[in-house]
Amino acid sequence: MSSGAAPAADAASPTREPLAVRLIGRGSLAGALLVLGIAALYAVVLPMVAERASAPAPPRIVDVGGGVSVVSEETWSEAVSDGGTTTLTQGGATLVIDQPHPSEGSVVARLDDLTADWIAEAPDGSVATAPRTFETDAGDDAATVVLQEPQQTVQAWVVSDGELEVIAVLTAPATAWDKTSSAAQALVRSMAFPETAP
């Protein structure tokens, strides 16, 4: 293998001063600054760029209306919503969050009513679990129930701060259920209601 590098390396032009000579002729300050600059680029700038480039995207705050918001991971996409609902999708699953409305009793009682309506309209063979209660990250009451239909799984949540109530419904094909159910649970758990005046 042959290249122009070898002859050119040793061939000095009589009319042009090599770069090193020109730098040395200037007291090498330019060269010293160049060395320092390149070292700083590698030791400081590149790691900073990498940190920004590889940092996970900040969680997205999704306003569902009435001052209520949820924290959505980037895996959720916001679909076109209408009728005051917020619709998020992920892996073939759809999470619909209704606008907040005044609370109508405990979250379990509300969920029981919803489940009864649901079962009445669901295909034969559908079954619902008993409501399971939990607290959101903000400390508000929440409950969830899962309705298993022959072709799909539906999960509903009711979250209430005592004054306002929010209903969220996840519909997912069986294949996407495990993953999306956990993600939806995390999203609902992040729900924050507006601060009420003391």
Partner: protein
Amino acid sequence: MSIVRHPVTWVYAVLLVIGVIGLVPLLIAAFEGSPAGFLLGVVLWTLFTVLAWWAIRRFSRTRPRPRLATLAAFAWGAIIATGLGRWATGGVGDIAGAVIPDEGWAGAIAAGVSEEPLKLLGVFALSLFAATRMRSALDFVYYGAFVGLGFMVVESLLYAAQGAQTGDSPMTIVVEYVILRGILAALWSHPTFTALAAIGLAVLVRSGASAVRRWLAFLGMLVLAMALHALFDSPVLESNMMVAFFAKGAIVLAVFLAFYLPLRRRAAREAAPLSEETQEPASASS
């Protein structure tokens, strides 16, 4: 200008301190992981360094080169490049990992892209000292080899100590590392990569060719060194590690010799009539 008043001396000193700051925690962690393995590694890699040092000086004895500059080249690779590499390689690795889906290739490319310029920067810094007498491309190859040697020894010491922490027989692991990464890989490891890239640097800073040619030669050789480094670290042929080791190593060595041997023949031709008329002093000044 005296060395002490030279601006590059001060930059070198600053970078040396930063390199120590970056390197010492790694050395301490390696020592704490396996004190006996680490100490054995220090002894064996020191012996390897002495042998490699002698071999490179012996092979490059056609021209005397200052010992202090040689030591500075070795220290750049051993302390500055490895110390700065702690941050640089991690950063480039994160970027490569975000862009390249294959983890093995991402790591290999990150190592080549981050380590080769850092080592070559040391050769460039030394070229700014008139006392280093870097006039021909062979001078750049010489200092490049010593920068690479320093890097290779310290990096391998850290790898060996890490390996010693995880195995049942740390002493055996350290010895295996010296044989594999030192003795067997000596001809196609960091000294070869840096020496290859240094040929392009010689064209850039010493040649009187046009700016386009000089920059093309410099960037071409740097990219070639990065590519060979990445190839050597890559998962290519990973199903048989020994075949991969020697096959990829042979490619690295062949490419280096393709550039190096013509330079050496040319230098020998030019030196032949001169040596008969004006004998250069045999002793190396420091």
